[in-house]
């Protein structure tokens, strides 16, 4: 079966033009292959480039050299619309930050990925509500903007949005951080279900137990650092 994520010879450096053109090399000739249904954890000390690699897979950071194929589509050097098309259909990303238009209710924030697929608004909303219920977000919050929510509540909205559509590739940045044990367990079950339906998952988990439960492999990003 072909890989869901295929990274070859990927390098990344940040050039800080306003700080004497300082160059920070983060990744050098990194390789990574993730099969459908597989979950891998990116490990390595803080600053080793885990987040950078994850963000590059998401198309949030630019890969300058090498290749990243997501479900067969090259994203290094790809036109922006190729990446946004992938994000709409194939590539889900749960970041640590929730960035939403203020005033949009949580249920609509979560329904958004389904609406982008052209789903019926009422159906999308119902699916979103079911996901919020599963993550134990109190129903009285569904109609409110998540901008006013606590960290853990925002995190659950973020997770709900990442899992509401059946993405083939999922990128997770600390998906269980700031969650209580019950909701942490829900998130891990969601990951297991995504794997079972063939999604490839790449995550950063500081939570070692979570890693042991859902991840098939660990990839040490320090080894990819120059």
């Amino acid at each position: 079966m072909s890989a869901a994520i295929e990274v070859r010879g990927l390098s990344k450096a940040f050039v800080l033009h306003n700080q004497g053109a300082a160059r920070i090399n983060v990744l050098e000739r990194a390789d990574l292959t993730v099969a459908p249904g597989e979950c891998i954890a990116l490990t390595g000390s803080s600053g080793s480039g885990k987040s950078t690699l994850l963000r590059m897979l998401a198309g949030n950071y630019l890969g300058l050299d090498g290749s990243i194929r997501i479900a067969g589509t090259e994203i290094v050097g790809a036109p922006p619309r190729t990446v946004s098309g992938l994000r709409r259909s194939t590539l889900g990303h749960v970041s640590q930050f929730l960035r939403v238009v203020p005033r949009v209710p949580a249920r609509d924030v979560v329904a958004e990925p389904l609406r982008m697929q052209g789903a019926d608004p009422a159906e999308a909303r119902a699916t979103a509500e079911a996901m919020l219920a599963r993550l134990n977000l109190p129903e009285r919050l569904w109609g409110l903007s998540p901008t006013t929510f606590s960290g853990g509540e925002q995190q659950r909205v973020n997770v709900a949005r990442g899992f509401v559509h059946r993405y083939r590739v999922l990128l997770l940045d600390e998906p269980t951080a700031s969650l209580d044990p019950v909701n942490r367990d829900v998130v891990l079950s969601l990951i297991e279900e995504a794997k079972a339906r063939g999604a490839a998952v790449v995550g950063i988990f500081h939570d070692a137990e979570a890693r042991a439960r859902v991840c098939d492999r660990e990839v040490d990003v320090s080894a990819m650092t120059p």
């Binding site: 306003n18 198309g59 630019l62 946004s84 238009v101 203020p102």
Partner: protein, 259 residues
Amino acid sequence: MTALADIAAAPLLAVEGLTVRYGDRIGCADVSLDLAPGEVLGVVGESGSGKTTMLNAVAGRLPVAEGRLSYEGRDLRAMAEPERRRLMRTDWAFVHQHARDGLRMGVSAGGNVGERLMEGGARHYGNIRRAALDWLARVEIDPARIDDRPTQFSGGMQQRLQIARALVTEPRIVLMDEPTGGLDVSVQARLLDLMRGLVREMGLAAIVVTHDIGVVRLLADRLMVMKDGRVVETGLTDQVLDDPQHGYTQLLTSSVLSA
């Protein structure tokens, strides 16, 4: 034979090598962009970066020195003036930074919205009033204020009225110049929410020129950064803001006070 998918994928608006001169001075130079239905392009840069000049030139409000502009594959510069004006009335809309530039201050709110429909050929008074009421509601202006003049409205309400006036003809392209400039943050949020909803519901394509990074982050799919009349960087909005490649963009993004 042209496949339907190709038509759908074709850009609504394409700009190539657009240059505007003010005498010897460059207003904007060699700007290229394209826009598909349902897509929002943000344009950022400091005052004097040429972003508003570019927008005005695209809108036909400034003479173009060089470059190609096409709408649905039709060359806009070669188009006869009356035809272009008609297109601007029916298919395009412009939202000004200052609502008073886009509104008729001596005409009622309902008149401001209805007038655009009448320009487009609508004649039935009942239908025009109904459409005006519907649009006032969509931009969250109390329908009871339909006969009030914009001078009696707050800045945020005036801006929403301007948006209603611009969108009532169901244009396909909206050009916005600092649409949230000078508004309170809470009013800005309301406008952003409104604009996002309209873009999705109506399949609008929009160019939003602003100096507000927060606004483009939430509203724009793609971003173009301009400096000294030229485009220095383009890409997906989050990519340009989170991993800026050009020194100027790095300066711009690192100067933002995050809320």
